[in-house]
């Protein structure tokens, strides 16, 4: 068995598995298994979905964009590196002109 965030995952992915939340999710799954048929089905679905999203890297800024809430613009630019395309800047500029108001 490969340990979460272990060496072998690093060989497969540039971004190692983020296991910040994994212990909580596994604990959650364990509770669901202990509860058996009495377990809340909405919680079962949520646990499975969260486990999947975390494995996909939804919590990881390296995968899901950078950090738009960084303190300075330099830090924001550094967080995104080369991920932003011209289209993103163009849409932002249009929004700056007032084209992103809610109707």
């Amino acid at each position: 068995m490969i340990a979460p965030g272990g060496d072998r995952t690093g060989a497969l992915d540039d971004v190692p598995l983020d296991n910040e939340l994994l212990p909580y999710l596994l604990e959650w799954v364990r509770d669901i298994l202990d509860a058996g048929p009495e377990a809340d089905r909405s919680l079962i679905r949520a646990a499975g979905k969260a486990l999947f999203l975390d494995t996909m890297g939804f919590r990881n800024p390296l995968i899901m964009g950078g950090d738009p809430c960084a303190g300075t613009l330099e830090e924001v630019a550094a967080a995104y590196r080369n991920k932003l395309l011209p289209r993103h800047h163009i849409i932002a500029r249009l929004a700056r002109g007032g084209f992103a108001r809610r109707p």
Binding site: C69, L84, H88, A92, F99, R102
Partner: protein, 332 residues
């Protein structure tokens, strides 16, 4: 409005000078009419934050990684965290079944339908190949076509193996160009990656046919942007699906002073090599709508495509044209 979970648009908003109204620090840039932005990722946020004053709204209709990231266990009450995560995950459209159900019970689907019915829609970087969203567009535009007696949805292009929606609304386009012109002194995106200036220069340099240069020349006196670069050059294959946007005041450009010169608009619109209608050489024409009940509705103009006339009927029109092309079902 974006279906993406990622935070790229938020980053571009920050770099354009916006301040995150809920989370961000003070904005170091001078205040402007729209200085803040807010991210809407759930129905609750839609009603609590969506009407903020002088705030740009970014609606993430399938959810947001940032909001998901912010739901963290606090250590003391694990049950509360689990229920909070469950409640937010209902707003994240991810699995196949959720995508199938999205059009039925989603606040974002209703909002998208409202946008399609009431606004000019510009698709940016979106292939329209998502069958559920595709179906939403199709349903709304067919409904509008029945009511308005002219087609917003072009079955001819679909017959050719392509699906095309194009909506040109003169007044909205002019307002867009005017706003860009007015705000051209606003802070430009910093030099991270390819900025508009470098994009413009590189496109002009790499195109040997001179077509792109003509486009830039036609729109040189207003802020000009060109999405992607799939203008057809010789036998070069163009992108199978693309969104192309040209902003510019073509009426002041030398190219449109000559009535026999096709508008740069058409070069953009018809750049898709695989789009069979492009080979027929279509022309865009625009004419004002008729007054109804003694009042000129005015803001909408009928736009249709027909055989090439060799000229554009309204050389003073133009500004922005958005064309979204995607592979039609028959090609797949």
């Amino acid at each position: 409005m974006t279906p993406n979970f990622d935070l790229l648009l938020e980053g571009a908003y920050r770099l354009a000078g916006f301040r995150d109204r809920t989370l961000g620090p003070e904005n170091p840039l001078p205040p402007t009419m729209f200085s803040d932005y807010v991210r809407i990722t759930s129905p609750a946020e839609f009603f609590s934050e969506g009407k903020a004053h002088r705030t740009a709204v970014l609606i993430k209709m399938h959810g947001c990684a940032r909001t998901y990231r912010d739901v963290k266990p606090n250590g003391s009450n694990e049950r509360e965290w689990r229920e909070a995560l469950r409640d937010y995950l209902r707003s994240m459209v991810f699995t196949y079944r959720e995508i199938q159900n999205w059009r039925e019970d989603s606040w974002a689907a209703d909002f998208l339908r409202t946008l399609l019915r009431t606004r000019t829609v510009v698709f940016a970087g979106y292939s329209l190949q998502d069958p559920v969203v595709h179906d939403t567009f199709r349903t709304v535009y067919e409904e509008m076509a029945r009511i308005r007696r002219f087609a917003w949805y072009y079955p001819a292009m679909q017959d050719a193996g392509w699906t095309c929606w194009s909506v040109v609304v003169e007044l909205a386009l002019r307002r867009m160009v005017a706003a860009l012109w007015k705000n051209r002194c606003s802070p430009a995106p910093p030099e991270t990656g390819r900025t508009l200036g470098s994009l413009r220069a590189s496109k002009a340099a790499e195109n040997s046919s001179g077509q792109i240069e003509k486009l830039w020349a036609a729109a040189c006196d207003v802020p000009t942007v060109l999405f992607q670069s799939p203008c057809q050059t010789g036998t070069k294959e163009v992108a199978p699906h693309a969104v192309q946007i040209q902003l510019g005041g073509f009426e002041s450009g030398a190219a449109t002073q000559n009535a026999r010169t096709p508008s740069p608009l058409l070069h953009l619109a018809l750049a898709g090599k695989r789009c069979s209608v492009a080979s027929h050489g279509l022309a865009q024409t625009a004419e004002p709508t008729r007054p109804r009940n003694g009042r000129n509705r005015g803001c909408l103009r009928r736009t249709h495509f027909g055989p090439a006339h060799g000229r554009v009927h309204s050389p003073r029109s133009a500004g922005v044209f958005a064309l979204a092309l995607g592979r039609g079902d028959r090609k797949r």
